[in-house]
Amino acid sequence: MSNRDDDFTADLLQGTLDLLVLKALSAQPLHGLGVSTRINQITKGTFDVKPGSLFPALHRMEEAGWLKAEWGESENNRRAKFYSLTRAGRRQLETETEDWQRISLAIGSALRAT
């Protein structure tokens, strides 16, 4: 994996990683690997979030009050930390979704313009 790819991912994720994590957790609580697997699923394999950026994001969002975390049992009886959305997290997801749609609409129409 080249450095350039890493940078590209980081840049892209800066704005969208939070949104993707919130979206991933909107259906059910998940542990770390669960979140990255789910993101991979819902983006149809476009995004493969590595632990190096996933964990900082999870902890930062917990700190911001969007996520809460609890220790629980994984599907094969391992102790794992499960993240879920708080009320504020849910609101944040709504806001960011709106924002994102507005931006992508704007960017899209800008690129279509001749």
Binding site: G52, P56, R60, A88, T95
Partner: protein, 879 residues
């Protein structure tokens, strides 16, 4: 997310870092395990799967580091964000910010100033070596009289010989001496004659030269002197070769053996030199002199004050038996040095500290109310932020950041106020407040101020923040929602106002009591006419004036010369001027009256005067005659004061009767006159029995001249000095003051206390009335709509006025009631500071309550009047 879990996460970040780290390790570990299992399920063998998983994770430590950085960065970022946002929103409302900062600066500044006084005077240890082991030793009356009496040299020598509790013990005799040598005019200075062990007792050694040697503390070798740092600088030009040079003290050459460090002093910071006391153990001092020494001692390590007291009590008992005539009913009192210096000043400092704490609480209540009003105005903003996802904790933290910012700004300004205030305190403070010159704003004080500011910020910020961080989103966001205060906020606001009023009342009552007490003090009848009287001291050196008749002649001629100055009405002299603290006392008996047991004879103030003293001072002759030129040493006569006459000659004419002062055992004198009482030691002290002798009878070499002028007496100063110089060009005069200045100085401390407390009470009154005005104004504005409806329905202006003013006055009366109740309890601590009024003085309580109610009425009236001016049509539209 609640405040607590937020706080908890912060806590985990800092104090429970290890725990967090362990959890993080486990979390990442689980990830690796789960990923490995997933890859095995996809068909890899275990070894391959684990390797692939590790590669994907890219280093557990790296991940953890990223997480840590992210967390820290987040905390820092929100903190910086909060501060930046807070500053911006404070700057956006400069009026609000300025008002709050000024109120807080007044409160914090006053606290800083008073705390630095307490820090300098009470808390900081004395500038001696191991000061906790230094004690003062006094003789004390066992029959309930003076507990800190000066000491007989005979007793001191016996204590020193017999006691085992002390490392060192030293006797001190405070004197005035004429100093010549170095540069400048001959000068009368304060000097202390001390035993050789004096400097070791205090644990301070000279910075140049050496302390006194034991052999220098003996008659014949005592012609040495140690200078204060100040006199070394001013008079001897900081001469680095000073040690070994000569100075002339009272006409005798003494060798300078040392210079003390700057600021060194013992009980009196005016003392400029120390010389050996040279007590001679062979002399029977009990027969030749009275009690005049002070003693200081250093406890041996491990010996407590109680143990020393116990030992000395035993010694005192023995001495009582050995010398029954001199020592009956005399004990020994051991007082720790720190207690000696600060004991007297402690009550007023505690009162002042309470006063400034009250001022700060009022300021807090004020700012809290301002914040409540502002929060109401910001409700929409807050609701919007909440709706956009800001948690309650986030809002709370934001608002608390603003409060603490405000408090720190107030604190910074407060420190400036305090520095300035302390300079004023030192400049205008009476010189008898101990250690006043040691006060400064040091690191301890700054730490105190910082802590007070933080606490203040949390205190006044918390309630409004809790209130505002729970906005009713629906109501607040509604277009046209009035942003009005809920009932709860109104109640809070009113509670703050009531608290402010009651705190201010307590302070005002305290100040009122001090003012009334001070007025009483000033209106005390002194017994003499202080107006237009100039006084000064002349101390004749023994070497130049060795013979009694020379001394008497000097003062006689000085008076004659002064009397020729135009504008001088009368001129006299006395051994000790009233109200200067210096006195001479002895016991006396009246031949023919049953005499009391030795040691229980009544005491009498003993003064020596020249004939015109009473005329110059304006003290009336009540009976008989005054002393005159015919009363030489051999004419055994004296004058008594009215108190002595009334107390000891109740139903008889004292004239012609005999009275014996146990002064020198030379027998009784005849009473030839009775003069009026005067306040002698202090304005607060009732007159004591006193006798007056003529100057030839007891030729004191130091006398205070008293000059009565026809007009402003201080204008005569130069002329009088010229006449004295004409008589003896080398003779210094000192303490040139009008009698009014003497009185003023004697009550400088109560004046200062009164002034300080009044200033704080004034600040409290202003803050409380501004607070009251603010709240009334706000509620009047809030009620514009209601007022409009009432007026539209026919209410008159006076109805509206009654409604609005009545509301405010109800709060005021409630506050006054609580304030009076609190004052009844709290002013008790002031009792020892008051003179002529009780701590529950009814007129003060009533008067002060009326003043506060009056000010509150004005603060209510202005907004109420504005409310009535409202045009109902506009008011109804006011949304």
């Amino acid at each position: 997310m609640t405040l607590f879990s937020k706080g908890g996460s912060l806590l985990r970040n800092t104090t429970r870092r290890i725990q967090v780290d362990r959890e993080l390790t486990e979390e990442v570990g689980t990830y690796v395990e789960l990923l490995t299992e997933k890859k095995m399920n996809e068909g890899m063998n275990e070894k391959e799967a684990r390797r692939a998983a590790m590669v994907e994770v890219g280093g557990v430590e790296q991940v953890k580091e990223n997480v840590r950085e992210g967390r820290m960065g987040f905390a820092m970022e929100t903190f910086v964000q909060d501060i930046r946002y807070g500053l911006r929103s404070l700057l956006k409302k400069p009026g609000f910010t300025l008002t709050a900062v000024i109120a807080l600066a007044l409160g914090i500044g006053a606290n800083t100033a008073i705390f630095s006084v307490i820090n300098g005077v009470l808390l900081r240890s004395l500038a001696y070596g191991n000061p906790e082991r230094i004690v003062m030793l006094w003789e004390k009356s066992l029959t309930g009289g003076n507990q800190q009496n000066v000491i007989s040299p005979g007793n001191f020598l016996d204590w020193e010989k017999q006691s085992g509790s002390f490392e060192h013990m030293a006797a001190v005799w405070d004197l005035r001496a004429n100093l010549t040598g170095g540069s400048g005019e001959p000068e009368e200075i304060k000097a202390q004659f001390v035993s050789a062990g004096f400097f070791s007792t205090l644990g301070v050694q000279p910075v140049m030269g050496r302390a006194f040697l034991p052999q220098e503390d003996k008659t014949g070798n005592e012609l040495v002197i140690i200078l204060s740092h100040e006199v070394w600088q001013t008079r001897f030009g900081s001469d680095p070769q000073i040690v070994g040079k000569q100075a002339t003290v009272n006409g005798r050459q003494r060798t300078i053996v040392g210079v003390m460090p700057p600021g060194f002093h013992f009980l009196d910071n005016q003392v400029k030199a120390w010389a050996p006391l040279a007590l001679d153990p062979a002399v029977n001092y009990r027969e030749t002199t009275g009690r005049f020494l002070r003693a200081v001692a250093r406890l041996k390590p491990g010996v407590s004050v109680q143990q020393a007291q116990g030992e000395l009590a035993g010694i005192a008992k023995q001495l009582e038996q050995a010398y029954p005539t001199k020592n009956i009913n005399w004990g020994i009192n051991v007082v720790p040095m720190h207690e000696q210096i600060v004991g007297e000043i402690r009550p007023i400092l505690i009162v002042l500290l309470a006063a400034v704490a009250f001022v700060l609480l009022i300021a807090c209540a004020n700012v809290a109310n301002l914040l409540l009003s502002r929060a109401a105005a910001r409700q929409k903003e807050l609701a919007l932020r909440a709706a956009l996802g800001a948690g309650r904790a986030r809002l709370l933290r934001q608002m608390m950041t603003e409060s603490v910012l405000l408090a720190l700004m107030g604190g910074a300004l407060g420190v400036l106020l305090a520095v300035w205030g302390i300079r004023l305190l030192i400049a205008f403070g009476p010189d008898n407040i101990p250690r006043l010159n040691e006060i400064s704003v040091d690191l301890g004080v700054l730490a105190f101020t910082f802590a007070v500011s933080l606490i203040t910020g949390l205190l006044f910020g918390l309630v409004p923040a809790l209130q505002a961080s729970r906005p009713d989103l629906n109501d607040a966001l509604k277009e046209g929602g009035r942003g009005s205060t809920s009932g709860r906020t109104g109640t809070l606001r009113n509670a703050f106002v009531v608290a402010e009023v009651s705190l201010a009342l307590v302070l005002l009552i305290g100040a009122g009591l001090m003012i009334r007490s001070f007025a009483r003090l000033q209106s005390v009848n002194t017994g003499f006419q202080a107006e237009n009287v100039l006084t000064m001291r002349a101390q004749l050196p023994g070497k130049k004036y060795p013979e009694p008749h020379q001394i008497v002649d000097f003062f006689k001629h000085a008076q004659e010369r002064i009397a020729t100055i135009p504008g001088v009405q009368a001129v006299g002299a006395i051994s000790y001027l009233p109200l200067t603290g210096l006195t001479s006392r002895d016991s006396f008996k009246i031949p023919g009256q049953p005499s009391l047991a030795a040691g229980q004879e009544p005491g009498v103030e003993v003064r020596v005067v020249t004939p015109a003293y009473f005329q110059a001072m304006g003290i009336p002759l009540l009976k008989g005659r005054l002393l005159d030129e015919r009363d030489v040493k051999e004419t055994r006569v004296l004058l008594i004061n009215e108190t002595l006459a009334k107390r000891y000659f109740p139903n008889t004419d004292p004239l012609g009767k005999q009275l014996e002062v146990m002064w020198d055992g030379s027998g009784p004198d005849e009473i030839v006159g009775v003069v009026g009482d005067i306040r002698e030691g202090a304005l607060t002290k009732e007159p004591e029995p006193a006798i007056y002798w003529s100057h030839p009878r007891e030729p004191y070499s130091g006398m205070a001249l008293v000059i009565r002028a026809t007009g402003n007496a201080s204008r005569l100063t130069t002329a009088v000095q010229k006449e004295i110089r004409g008589l003896d060009p080398e003779q210094p005069i000192s303490e040139v003051r009008t009698m009014e200045q003497v009185i003023a100085k004697s009550i400088a401390r109560p004046r200062f206390n009164t002034l300080l407390l009044s200033i704080f009470a004034g600040v409290a009154l202003v803050l409380a009335s501004v607070g009251l005005y603010g709240v009334m104004n706000y509620s009047a504005t809030q009620r514009t709509h209601e007022v409009g409806i009432r007026m539209a329905l026919g209410a008159t202006r006076s109805d509206i006025m009654k409604l609005v003013v009545g509301n405010g006055m109800m709060l005021t009366v409630l506050g006054i009631g609580i304030g009076i109740a609190a004052s009844l309890i709290l002013t008790r601590v002031m009792a020892s500071l008051l003179f002529g009024v009780t701590a529950t003085d009814l007129p003060t309580f009533a008067g002060v309550s009326a003043v506060l109610a009056g000010v509150a009425l004005i603060a209510n009236y202005i907004p109420a009047r504005r409310a009535t001016r409202v045009n109902p049509v506009i008011a109804l539209r006011y949304e």
